[in-house]
Symmetry: C3
Subunit: 126 residues, 3 copies
């Protein structure tokens, strides 16, 4: 298992981490990316400046401004709730030594309680 | 890695692709299905005619009719937003040469910006 | 593939199943957990009493009280809809014979139509 670190700069922020992953892939059949955090998530989608802003707005809109109980302990309940549905891992097939991503697909790290320094784990299956 | 193509016929449409996958599985321990698109997704659930209609209605209801910025570029922001949370892959254990699906589980392709011709990648791990 | 059974006690309930999984892991590179049900799901997050209550409240709030058509057949459309977006599997890297979970991460079984007796499948990839 390999890992790399990234820095986020906002409370809710979507970052394209495709280059960090792609350059580590040389062989294998499957790449699993795993975020070892409970207030961040990972997904795959397009990364165009306007849809990036829409993602950040959309995720915040799903959890709304509920009076979540966890906020009495730590003011980040919304981040946990979103992370639990977007989830912490993605699996990408590898073909011919490269990620089998579609033309518009980028690997997106989703910060939900930043800014923070975060870790991404990567496991490649033979 | 194998791939197959499917045709969708509506803007938002849930299709049962279980037979296309099942007939390719003969051995291995894990089947990963991956959709190389940013305006479609894949999941597992029941596929009864009424719940199929509910899925299509539910997914549209989550994103609402927000004035998404990406729609100034391409009128499919809602499809990207939904695809980013439902996500582009599923993993199914294989046992005795067959998918270990539960009694009611079907593999569902989720078109969010159709009609289109789409691709599904399939990777089987030994 | 291994499997274990759990009992849920409420309509919507989040249960920490980390110990049941951890004690089965001794080697390998990847652990896949798969729920063979269409009205339950699985995820990873923190499991603190207040956020547990928030999860249960949040999931119910996403589907709202729509007049779902499937409820004419079986009164659990909300459970199918949520299960289809939270999804039925998670993948966790294994490092040095242990799950590479972050400090706050627990494996959470999400009952959406309980109380029931449920199954979780576990596949470990070498």
């Amino acid at each position: 298992m390999d890992s790399f670190r990234i820095k986020t700069s906002k409370k809710v922020e979507v970052l394209d981490i495709t280059p960090m992953v792609s350059r580590c892939i040389k062989s294998g059949s499957l790449c699993i990316l795993f975020v070892p955090h409970t207030t961040a998530a990972i997904t795959i989608n397009e990364f165009e400046p306007l849809i990036k802003e829409d993602f950040e707005c959309f995720y915040s809109s799903i959890v709304g401004k509920g009076s979540w109980k966890h906020n009495a302990v730590d003011a980040n309940a919304e981040a946990h709730l979103l992370s639990s549905i977007i989830k912490s891992s993605i699996s990408i097939p590898i073909k011919g030594g490269s990620l089998a991503l579609g033309a518009w697909q980028k690997i997106l790290f989703i910060e939900l309680d930043g800014p923070r320094e975060r870790t991404v784990h990567m496991q490649v299956i033979k």
